[in-house]
């Protein structure tokens, strides 16, 4: 049986995995759901650790990078991005 990957991306309020979720995305390699932009107003988990408890495996966390000199006050992409997977 071929294993397929489901991906969950959580954007957290701080760099701590147990901080609150501020954004989320899902990608489903099983084809059983079609998540897309703007499809829900409530996050699937309150914080990153809650996803771990539900069986998601953390596979990547964004690095902590110092701001570029001269751009310390600029805002851009969300900083605290965590990728999780489930294989089903």
């Amino acid at each position: 049986m071929t294993l397929r990957q489901q991906v969950l991306v959580l954007y957290l309020s701080t760099s701590a995995l147990d901080s609150p979720v501020v954004g989320w995305s899902r990608y489903d390699g099983t084809g059983t759901s079609q998540p897309t932009t703007g499809d829900s107003d409530e996050p699937p988990y309150p914080d990153g650790v809650a996803a771990l408890r539900d069986g998601w495996r953390l596979i990547q966390a964004s690095q902590l990078l110092p701001p570029q000199a001269g751009a310390e006050y600029g805002t851009s992409f969300l900083k605290h991005e965590f990728f999780f997977e489930k294989l089903t």
Partner: protein, 292 residues
């Protein structure tokens, strides 16, 4: 009938071009402007009359011919044309005057359609290209001629995203953010958005085509104190500019307020304005003053 004592022929007429009647003054307040600076948009529900909405629903499926980039409103839209009448509605005209000033240029326009059951949404994006002007902004008008119900894929807008420095659809990875607004609105609703706002057409799961008509405006005069400033000292101004949105990260939220303060200083010409001392503190350079 319009009260023409409050309206004026645009300066463009003095140079032999077509005339564009616009309001001389606006009832938009400092608190409303501060709300635009924090949220990145202004929403006006059902400001377009029903007969014009019906006219739009006949017109938009046929398309509206393109106009050259960056031309005066009067050149883009002849008197009596649908877009011209839309822009002359008092609520729309006064809001545009407050945001982009008299005689803005039409950057471009487009009819956007979300097809029924089309199966996908637009990625979250900002229009055009990254645009970090500190003292000017374009405004995009979005007009919805029909009632938009929750399943019709109304535009997703992320409040307070307009000052983030990102380029077009590089934000496409973000599907949902806390506090996002999924537009549901009555017919005749108009949004006026800062050019940088993150947004996208959502998936239309209904049986109806959803229409939106968009016009982008370029200011032609400094965007300084263009609104009714009589309430400038209202505490609600600072409260709006200090607003946090649920999707902000804890630390970056403070930078959002820092950047709003800079924009508010540019819009008011007041270099001393601040919220919670954020900008004043980090620009305090006593050594610089002692050498001057």
């Amino acid at each position: 009938m319009k009260n023409y004592q409050q309206w004026v022929i645009s300066a463009h007429a003095k140079h032999g071009g077509p005339t564009y009647v616009r309001p001389m003054r606006t009832t938009i307040t400092s608190v409303q402007l501060a709300r635009f600076v924090s949220h990145g948009y202004m929403r006006m529900d059902a400001v377009v009359p029903e007969e014009m909405n019906q006219e739009a629903l006949e017109l938009l499926p046929k398309g509206i011919p393109d106009v050259p980039y960056g031309i005066p409103v009067a050149d883009a839209y002849p008197e009596g044309s649908f877009p011209r009448r839309l822009l002359e509605l008092p609520a729309v005209a006064e809001a545009l005057l407050a945001l982009v000033g008299p005689d803005p240029h039409v950057d471009h326009h487009a009819v956007h359609v979300r097809e029924p059951h089309e199966g996908h949404a637009q990625p979250l994006h900002g229009d055009a290209i990254i645009d970090v002007r500190p003292d000017a902004f374009d405004v995009q008008l979005m007009y919805y001629p029909q009632r938009v119900s929750p399943d019709m894929g109304g535009t997703l807008v992320v409040p307070g995203s307009h000052l983030r420095r990102t380029n077009e659809s590089d934000t496409g990875r973000y599907q949902n953010l806390r506090g996002q607004t999924r537009l549901v609105c009555p017919a005749g609703t108009v949004l006026l958005l800062h050019h940088g706002i993150w947004h996208g057409g959502r998936r239309n799961d209904s049986d109806l085509r959803r229409y939106m008509f968009k016009i982008r405006f370029n200011p032609t005069t400094p965007q300084v104190r263009l609104w009714d400033t009589s309430d400038m000292a209202d505490p609600e101004v600072a409260a709006e500019l200090g607003r946090y949105f649920p999707w902000y990260e804890q630390a970056t939220a403070r930078l959002e307020i820092y950047n709003r303060v800079l924009l508010w200083r540019a819009l008011t010409g007041d270099p001393s304005f601040d919220v919670e001392h954020w900008v004043t503190r980090v620009t305090n350079r006593p050594a610089d003053r002692s050498h001057s």
